[in-house]
């Protein structure tokens, strides 16, 4: 009984961590290039909605994911124009996007699906990987995930490789740390930052699409519930390092999953407190880690060439 509940807990913890892993990994790269996308949550929400809509309309969850990623990337492109080219305040732009995303998805959802619709949406089946299932305790939880969940881990590896072993990664780090030096070394600061923001958009799109098409097979109003903000927190918590960021995302995922485990174990803890837990953790993480781990020196500072 306990074992079974543990398996469910681990499985749901992983599942809940996946969208945060996607978003945080992309955001980490963008922040290493010096651009903070506070609009991450909005990108995820727009993608979740678009993926649900496209999957519902075409019957193909794959097309759904593609549509979601496309919309999130388009949003990222606008964010990049505003924060890189027009040098707008990145925080203000981000907040604006999030409000726009929440308002527009809620409106369109009610128009298209009708209020409080619970129509199921064609989604991905869970893979069943027998070679993983044999691992004790965590095996069954690891083996029964959708393909996208494995992609999220793959993206962490890819992002780490990019940052460490490619000249694009080196350019990203240089541009986020000392854009003036990078510029004088012949690197296009704007181009590098655009690519960074678009990368964040693609991954946030995957994360958002995962929520509607791969996880819950439905769309609900404000279904991200601040996952984008948690992802930004995870990047800080993880000290802008891909592996520590992954660890922070898993922590948030499992903290969220406690709301299923604790009642199942019939422990007397208010559910409201459990719902609050990941956000409380995020607050503690920010309070404890901001300033201690070194952020990219040029984070949120627009670049302007000068003498």
């Amino acid at each position: 009984m306990i074992d079974e509940q543990m398996a469910v807990f681990i499985g749901s913890g992983l599942r809940l961590a996946v969208p945060i892993i996607f978003a945080a990994t992309g955001e980490m790269l963008s922040e290493r290039a010096g651009v903070l996308n506070l609009s991450l949550d909005g990108m995820m929400l727009m993608s979740a909605f678009t993926a649900a809509l496209a999957s519902w309309a075409t019957g193909s969850p794959l097309i759904g994911v593609a549509a979601g990623v496309l919309v999130a990337t388009a949003l990222a492109a606008v964010q990049a124009v505003l924060s890189v080219t027009l040098r707008a305040n990145q925080l203000v732009v981000g907040i604006g996007f999030n409000i726009l995303a929440l308002g527009s998805t809620t409106f369109l959802y009610r128009e298209i699906f009708g209020p409080l619709s619970r129509d199921p949406i064609p989604g991905f089946a869970q893979l069943n990987l027998p070679w993983l299932a044999h691992i004790p305790v965590i095996g069954p939880a690891l083996a029964n995930q959708t393909g996208l969940a494995y992609v999220s881990i793959l993206m962490v590896v890819v992002t780490w490789l990019i940052l460490k072993y490619t000249s694009f990664g080196l350019a990203v780090r240089a541009v986020g740390e000392d854009p003036r030096a990078a510029d004088k070394a012949g690197i296009s600061v704007a181009k590098t930052r655009y690519l960074g923001v678009l990368y964040a958009g693609i991954l946030a799109g995957l994360g958002g699409a995962f929520m509607s098409v791969a996880d819950s097979n439905t769309f609900t109003e404000n279904m991200t519930k601040g996952a984008g903000y948690l992802a930004i927190t995870a990047v800080i918590f993880g000290g802008w390092n891909p592996w520590y960021t992954l660890a922070a995302c898993l922590l948030f995922g499992f903290a969220t999953a406690l709301q299923f485990l604790v009642p199942a174990l019939q422990l007397d803890v208010p559910v409201a407190l459990l719902l609050l837990l990941p956000y409380l953790l995020a607050l503690v993480a920010i309070a404890g880690f901001v300033g201690k781990s070194r952020q990219p020196s040029a984070l949120t500072i627009p670049f302007e060439r000068g003498g």
Binding site: A181, A185, I187
Partner: protein, 517 residues
């Protein structure tokens, strides 16, 4: 054959013409010096050649082909490289990573860079550890990395913007030798400086700039140094005295006290006593490591040292902008270590901080407001500000200290650097009580006329019985103004010289850590 040819180049910033109709040829294999005072347009010219700025008029050709770089990337592609006054290295990356930055290849190949570094080390004697982090390197080493970065791609033209300002004397010699090596291999070098001493040692030709115009271009063989100085400052060096000679560092000329200077008033009782001062930065690195120093009344004590050896931190602590980790500071009998800036001011300390723009004044406020920044209450009547009284007081102060501005109500930002600094000096020297003055890099970025004014003010303050601590990276300045020079190295004083026994060699040796013999 000319590598670079400029004709009719003009560059304006708003209403200010930084460069006016510049025509110039740089030959293959020559070291060409650009000489001029601050603001003469040297850096602007370099930035045009390197594509940082674009000219408003005129044309450039490189190797016979039209050359109009739209950015540094394009200049680099054409074989023009530049070492900037402020280094462009990413501090928390390794040497090898910095060298790989911006070089085409999708996947990083650190091994290739290390091989190339070994070649350059053999060819030019430029050795450095590829794994070292930039932030752990000395200023001289960082500059070496910059030069290696420039030479990696086998350039045609190397531009060095004020490369010697941050170096100690033996590093300057090494740099000039490298310049010659580079020129010997058929590349051209543009060396920007306002120091004549360096020019005569390394240049083939020199172009003198003044107020954005070319005054003359001369071959250095058999050139008359004095006439170069005249072209540079637009007046006779003799009439300006030794201060000017010191400011431009004329080779072989030992700075002497100007006639009429009575020399040090015999220093009286100690007005500043620092004992065993220790300061650790937020990372725990000791920046000051048991420094002890005494300044008497009527005495100017100069602090010499290569930048980054603790003099900046000493200035910050004396100004109350950083708290010492250990040790004591006593001014006129009052302990001020770790006190707030207000308490330090009340103890009679005037401060001319190193960073004029960030700390000494509020550029958006008016000159009058800046002059009485610390004494707002003085012009308050029943809680209201008496602006006309303040205006009158400001006018008097501006007259006394020769601060040139159209009115006390114009913003500080509209003043030249020299006048801003004179305003800061006016404010600090008008404090009451006043027993001690700290002047940190007081002439940085000023033109020769303003430098003289600042020196005269500091000397006058000394003659009035003030103790003065002068922190400067300009050796010539220290030798011309100080009564005593103490040399700082790695957060400690390593030696002291009294006026009359100053020598570049002795101070230079101590600056690099060799204790005074």
């Amino acid at each position: 054959m000319a590598v670079l040819e400029l004709s009719g180049l003009t560059k304006r910033f708003g209403a200010f013409t930084a460069l006016d109709d510049i025509s110039l040829q740089i030959e293959r294999g020559e070291v060409h010096c650009l000489l001029g005072e601050n603001g003469a347009g040297k850096s602007t010219l370099c930035n045009l050649v390197f594509g940082v700025h674009r000219p408003d008029a005129g044309t450039m050709t490189l190797g016979g082909e039209p050359f109009h770089p739209r950015g540094p990337a394009e200049a680099l592609q054409r074989g023009v490289v530049m070492v900037h006054q402020h280094f462009s290295l990413v501090p928390n990356m390794s040497v090898a990573e910095n060298l790989m930055l911006g070089r085409a290849s999708a996947v990083l190949k650190p091994q290739d860079i290390i091989v190339r570094m070994e070649q350059l080390a053999a060819e030019y004697g430029l050795e450095i550890d590829p794994e070292a982090r930039i932030e752990d390197l000395s200023v001289g080493e960082r500059q070496r990395v910059e030069i290696i970065k420039c030479l990696l791609g086998d350039p045609q033209l190397l531009v060095l913007d004020e490369p010697t300002a941050v170096l100690q004397p033996d590093e300057i010699d090494a740099l000039l030798a490298i310049c010659r090596q580079v020129a010997l291999r058929g590349k051209s070098v543009i060396l920007v400086t306002h120091k004549l001493g360096e020019i005569s040692r390394v240049a083939d030709r020199t172009t003198v700039l003044r107020q954005g115009r070319i005054i003359e271009t001369v071959a250095m063989e058999g050139a008359d140094i004095r006439s170069l100085v005249r072209s540079m400052v637009g007046r006779d060096v003799q009439s300006a005295g030794s201060v000017l000679a010191a400011a431009v560092d004329i080779e072989g000329k030992t700075p002497v006290k100007p006639s009429g200077d009575a020399g040090p008033a015999s220093p009286g009782e100690a007005v500043l006593e620092i004992s065993d001062l220790v300061y650790r930065d937020p990372h725990g690195v000791p920046r000051l490591d048991g420094l002890s120093l005494t300044v008497g009344t009527g005495e100017i004590v100069g602090i010499a040292g290569v930048e980054g050896n603790g003099q900046t931190e000493l200035g910050l602590i004396l100004a109350g902008l950083a708290a010492p980790s250990a040790g004591a500071i006593v001014v006129g009998g009052t302990s001020v270590g770790g006190c707030s800036p207000q308490e330090i001011t009340d103890a009679g300390v005037g401060i001319v901080p190193e960073d004029r723009h960030a700390v000494a004044c509020i550029k958006e406020l008016s000159v009058a407001e800046n002059l009485f920044l610390g004494a707002i209450g003085k012009f308050s009547r029943f809680g209201l500000l008496d602006k006309s009284a303040r205006r009158k007081a400001a006018e008097a102060m501006m007259r006394d200290f020769d601060v040139r501005a159209s009115s006390p109500d114009v913003s500080m930002a509209s003043l030249s650097g020299g006048n801003q600094q004179k305003a800061v000096l006016a404010r600090e020297l008008s404090l009451d009580p006043l027993v001690f003055l700290l002047a940190a890099q007081p002439t940085r970025g000023l033109d020769v006329g303003a430098i003289e004014a600042v020196y005269n003010r500091i000397r006058a303050a000394r003659d009035d019985g003030l103790g003065v601590l002068l922190i400067s990276s300009e050796l010539e300045e220290l030798m011309a103004v100080s009564d005593r020079i103490a040399v700082i190295y790695r957060g400690k004083l390593v030696g002291e010289l009294a006026a009359g026994s100053f020598s570049r060699e002795a101070i230079g040796a101590m600056m690099s850590g060799h204790a005074h013999v």
